[in-house]
């Protein structure tokens, strides 16, 4: 089982994610504010990027959301809109119909999610 997903969030994705999630922190949606606090531009919500790891994991298990039992991630570098995100992962352990995937999300050479671990139920 291999995990791979590529997605390029568009310029207004952080605004739509803010609306969907209720997280309107201006570092995500206001370029001027983000620059004032020392960021190169507005940054993606970490939980949006985590959702991409979740989606890649569910897809790898065949698409049933019930297959994802657990997901843990560490947020590291910042993610930005209008740059491609690549989620990759591979099997770390396998036992009794459950698979543990080690995954990460990378953007422009920066690993923005590290040490992700997804536990998938593959049968039953």
């Amino acid at each position: 089982m291999n995990v791979e997903l590529k997605v390029t969030p568009d310029k207004y994705l952080p605004h739509r994610y803010a609306g969907a999630s209720g997280d309107f922190n201006p570092i995500h949606i206001d370029v001027d504010f983000a620059k004032q606090v020392g960021l190169p531009s507005n940054i993606l919500h970490g939980l949006y990027t985590m959702a991409q790891v979740a989606r890649a994991s569910v897809n790898a298990a065949g698409g049933d959301p019930r297959s994802l039992r657990r997901l843990s991630v560490q947020f590291r570098g910042m993610g930005f809109p209008e740059q491609e995100i690549t989620v990759t992962g591979s099997v770390k352990e396998e036992h009794e119909g459950r698979v543990v995937i080690a995954a990460e999300a990378e953007q422009g050479g920066n690993r923005i999610i590290r040490n992700a671990e997804a536990e998938l139920q593959t049968s039953g």
Binding site: A20, S21, L68, R70
Partner: protein
């Protein structure tokens, strides 16, 4: 300023969230989900769900209101200016569907200090209207420059 640890073990009032079909669709569309089980009642029931089902990471939508309690608690005293979301874990149980009433209780699992950084770990437990656990979340916040 060293971290304050007196809030470890404290839990907060429950936060209720009623799950709606269009909110699931809005969230699913934003994060790029395409499966019809998130959008179409017929497809969801055919796949064995009670109604349109929420993508796993929809957990952040119904549990966010509960995490606000420890995050804003003066006893926890999170310094938002120096705060980063360091890590996140969810462990899922019963699926969440449109029409569910989800109750989430947050607690402070741990507050520690290491290398000038404060680690604030909050836990949320979410259950549905039938008392079944739907998800358990572990939210790790890191505050820089605590000592």
């Amino acid at each position: 300023m060293p971290v304050k640890t007196q809030a470890i073990g404290k839990s907060y009032p429950p936060f209720e969230y009623e799950v709606g079909k269009e909110k699931i669709a809005e969230y699913a569309r934003v994060v790029g989900e395409e499966s019809p089980v998130y959008f179409d009642r017929g497809a969801a029931t055919e796949a064995g769900f009670r109604d349109v089902v929420a993508p796993p990471m929809f957990a952040v939508i119904y549990s966010w209101g509960a995490v606000a309690h420890p995050a804003l608690d003066p006893e926890v005293d999170l310094n938002f200016a120096m705060l980063v979301h360091g890590g996140q874990e969810f462990a899922w149980a019963e699926p969440v569907c449109s029409g569910d009433l989800i109750t989430t209780v947050a607690s402070v699992k741990d507050i520690t200090e290491k290398g000038g950084m404060g680690f604030y770990v909050f836990e949320t437990v979410s259950t549905n209207q039938d008392g079944q656990e739907v998800v358990r979340g572990t939210w790790t916040n890191i505050v820089r420059g605590v000592s």
